[in-house]
């Protein structure tokens, strides 16, 4: 059984602790993730901006990396969803198209993997803090990840979950959108952080480091002491200390 980690370029370069948390959590449940180093980036940045040739270059590293995996687990809904665009991208390249279709069927976002594949919602975590949750757009709307994170959070002992007002509103990242339309993006993340502050939560948790990086950046800019964590990090800390 080959279960592979799709680390995502963001977690790889900036948030390696997310990957580490995932690997350790799953190892404790007898699932050893391997890490095919051929992977680089899912290709979203170029795909979203309309540069599909460049996207194919990135996508091929992903297709190659996971060609013989049985399951692929990824700490990002948007990167996992990006894989669903691969058949369209390789419609004219039969060899890659075949790999793309196979990868689509075996790629899972982290909480999907835990809940749907392993059937686990209680990892024995203890995290006695006030937490609020931001559901990332691609993961929740397009990949359909809604119940899984709720199921996992509800099993964490001591955790007080405070609903985030207008949680489903986009945080304003959108990849290159944040650079190209920086003022609109800035307005959106400012509003998101206003809502986070309303909850008076100590911790903001989410499933996608792109969103969390964006929101954390504005929190820090405004000197707000809210801790921003990926759910894998929260669960791992909850298991380690609990």
């Amino acid at each position: 059984m080959k279960v592979s980690l799709f680390i995502t370029c963001l977690s790889d370069a900036i948030y390696p602790r997310v990957g580490e948390a995932m690997v350790r959590l799953l190892a404790a449940h007898g699932v050893r993730l391997d890490f095919p180093p051929v992977q680089t980036c899912c290709g979203q940045p170029s795909y979203n901006s309309g540069y599909w040739d460049e996207t194919r270059v990135a996508a091929k590293t992903i297709l190659e990396a996971f060609d013989d995996s049985d399951f692929v687990v990824c700490p990002s809904g948007s990167c996992t969803y990006m894989i669903h665009h691969y058949p369209e991208l390789f419609a004219d390249e039969p060899v890659w198209l075949e790999k793309a279709k196979r990868l689509e069927a075996k790629a899972y976002e982290f909480t999907q993997f835990l809940v749907q594949v392993l059937g686990i919602t209680d990892l024995g975590a203890h995290f006695p803090h006030k937490v609020t949750y931001h559901p990332s757009c691609h993961g929740s709307r397009l990949l359909g990840v809604k119940d899984e994170p709720m199921a996992l959070l509800s099993q964490v002992k001591g955790l007080e979950l405070v609903p985030l007002p207008f949680a489903e509103d986009c945080c304003g990242f959108g990849g290159t959108f944040a650079i190209k339309m920086s003022d609109i993006s800035g307005a959106m993340v400012t509003e998101k952080v206003d809502h986070v502050k309303e909850t008076q939560a100590e911790v903001l948790v989410g499933l996608d480091m792109a969103c969390l990086m964006n929101i954390a950046g504005n929190l820090r800019y405004r000197n707000e002491p809210v801790r921003v964590m990926h759910l894998a990090e929260l669960l791992y800390e909850g298991v380690r200390t609990g």
């Binding site: 790889d12 050893r32 990135a58 669903h84 999907q112 709307r141 800035g186 950046g217 800019y221």
Partner: protein, 505 residues
């Protein structure tokens, strides 16, 4: 006013104006939230919303796929009812036909109910240039007409105006000071427009739906002005987008269920009118003469285009505007065209067939997909925005800096060695600018980001740099996989091989 073709200002500039207009932002936010909540309650109360959406989608897809049949049926049936049908390929033609009719009727006044198509073809301007008074009778449209502005929202056109501004505009019309009170202001408009309805030569309407099997047109409204302009004046002219067809009255039930709930959260608008031809000979009201101008203006360009044909499903409810976080912050005018919000961002370049000139309107989106989720007929606007961006690049009109950046990106991600090297380079290079694991520098590409944030620094060691150590450490302690978990996973693999796996989207 909206102008097809090259804009003198960019989306960014117009958005900047909007972002600095506090009243506008508050007004847009308040309005979209109200409408969004209304839709949410109404659709939840109704239940099975997704099934209804799928139904609506299927009916529209089918109608568009056979548009030559259904539109033809509509035309033949409408003619049999006594309606005069006209075809306009372009906006110029549409306005010209309307003007021709008005001139032949020697009209001096035209009263109009809400019609986005009439905005699209700049009808008022054409009529007024010919000395014909064209009066908008929808309260919001009347207000912005007095102000000389374009609508900023499909359903509530004047949300960018506050009551003081409105009182000022209406007081000028009234020739006396009117209090900035809704009842007073609306009361004045009712009285003033009542006179106009009764004396106008021509009534003009848009068309929400056209029923092919009986040649009937359907209007949804809350104020009563669409009924007024189609009942009182002796001549009626209706502008209709060629795609507004549904096969039957039975199908209208689906649209009547989806549209009002999606637009404003109502079960049904106060008035829904089905008009089948001009008045019957012995009727004592209704128009003597009725014209329907069927407008193409770029709609047929979407036919046969697998990426954009679904755009024609749109029922112009405005739900996407209310769901869009970008729209909420910048309002309608920033989009620069007749249609705003997510639908506008796609429609404007698609109808004009010129994404290149629409200065990055497709770029004003974070692709969050809220529009798709809100759309009662499931138009994948978020995908269409990416297709527009891709076409712009393919046509060679991509931004030069961005194209170079993307080539650089492709070079770095093309293989893991380059990728690792790039990360290492970054880890070294950033030392000069990192403070406390953050980068606040507002230079170059970081400027936009760091105007609102502190950027994160690259980790001291990337995940792949730490992997071997982590892997080896885990080799020491290794609980075996739970056997029931193993069988679950094996079962999933089996089902996948048999083609039954349905996880993900």
């Amino acid at each position: 006013m909206s102008q097809p073709g090259v804009m003198d200002t960019t989306v960014k500039e117009r958005a900047g104006l909007a972002l600095n207009d506090d009243f506008l932002r508050k007004a847009v936010k308040f309005t979209t939230e109200r409408l969004r909540n209304g839709k949410k309650s109404a659709s939840e109360e109704h239940g099975n919303w997704d099934e209804w959406r799928e139904r609506g989608r299927q009916i529209r897809l089918h109608t568009i796929a056979y548009l030559d049949y259904y539109l033809n049926e509509f035309v033949n049936n409408a003619r049999a009812n006594g309606v005069h049908i006209h075809f306009a390929d372009t906006s110029v033609e549409a306005a010209a036909i309307a003007l021709d009719i008005a001139a032949h009727k020697q009209a001096s006044t035209v009263v109009k109910s809400k019609s986005m198509v009439s905005e699209e073809v700049h009808l008022n301007h054409v009529l007024e240039s010919a000395g014909i008074e064209a009066i908008e009778t929808d309260l919001g449209e009347y207000i912005i007409q007095l102000a000389g502005e374009a609508p900023s929202h499909i359903v509530i056109p004047a949300i960018h105006k506050n009551r003081y501004q409105i009182a000022e505009l209406l007081s000028k019309e009234a020739g006396e000071i009117l209090e900035p009170d809704t009842t007073v202001l609306a009361g004045f408009v009712r009285k003033k427009l009542r006179e106009k309805f009764l004396e106008a030569d021509i009534g003009m309407t848009g068309c929400n739906f056209a029923i092919a099997e009986t040649g009937s047109m359907v209007l949804f409204e809350n104020e009563g002005n669409a009924r007024m302009v189609s009942t009182v004046p002796k001549t009626q002219i209706t502008l209709m987008g060629m795609e507004r067809i549904i096969p039957s009255w039975t199908d209208l039930e689906v649209m009547a269920t989806l549209l009002p709930r999606s637009a404003t959260g109502q079960k049904l608008t106060m008035y829904m009118s089905g008009i089948t031809g001009p008045r019957r000979t012995a009727d004592a009201d209704g128009p003597d003469e009725m014209h329907i101008i069927i407008v193409d203006n770029g709609r047929s360009l979407q036919l046969g285009d697998p990426e954009f044909q679904e755009l024609l499903n749109c029922i112009r409810c405005g739900a996407c505007l209310n769901a869009c976080p970008v729209y909420r912050h910048i309002g309608g005018h920033a989009y620069g065209g007749t249609y705003s919000g997510p639908i506008g961002a796609v429609l404007t370049p698609a109808l004009n067939g010129n994404i290149d000139e629409w200065n990055d309107i497709a770029g004003a989106s974070s692709l969050c997909g809220a529009c798709y989720e809100a759309c009662p007929v499931k138009i994948p606007l978020h995908d269409m925005l990416v297709y527009l961006r891709r076409r712009k690049v393919e046509d060679g009109h991509g931004n030069k800096m961005e194209s170079m950046g993307m080539k650089g990106f492709a070079a770095v991600v093309s293989n893991s060695k380059r990728f690792s090297a790039a990360i290492r380079l970054g880890q070294i290079g950033q030392k000069a600018v990192v403070r406390n694991n953050g980068i606040s520098l507002k230079l170059g590409p970081l400027k936009g980001w760091n105007n609102y944030r502190v950027a994160p620094s690259l980790a001291k060691k990337s995940f792949r740099q730490q992997w071997n150590k982590l892997d080896q450490e885990l080799n020491q302690e290794q609980p075996a996989m739970n056997s029931s978990v193993r069988s679950r996973m094996e079962q999933i693999i089996r089902e996948r091989e048999e083609g039954e796996d349905k996880h993900g989207h």
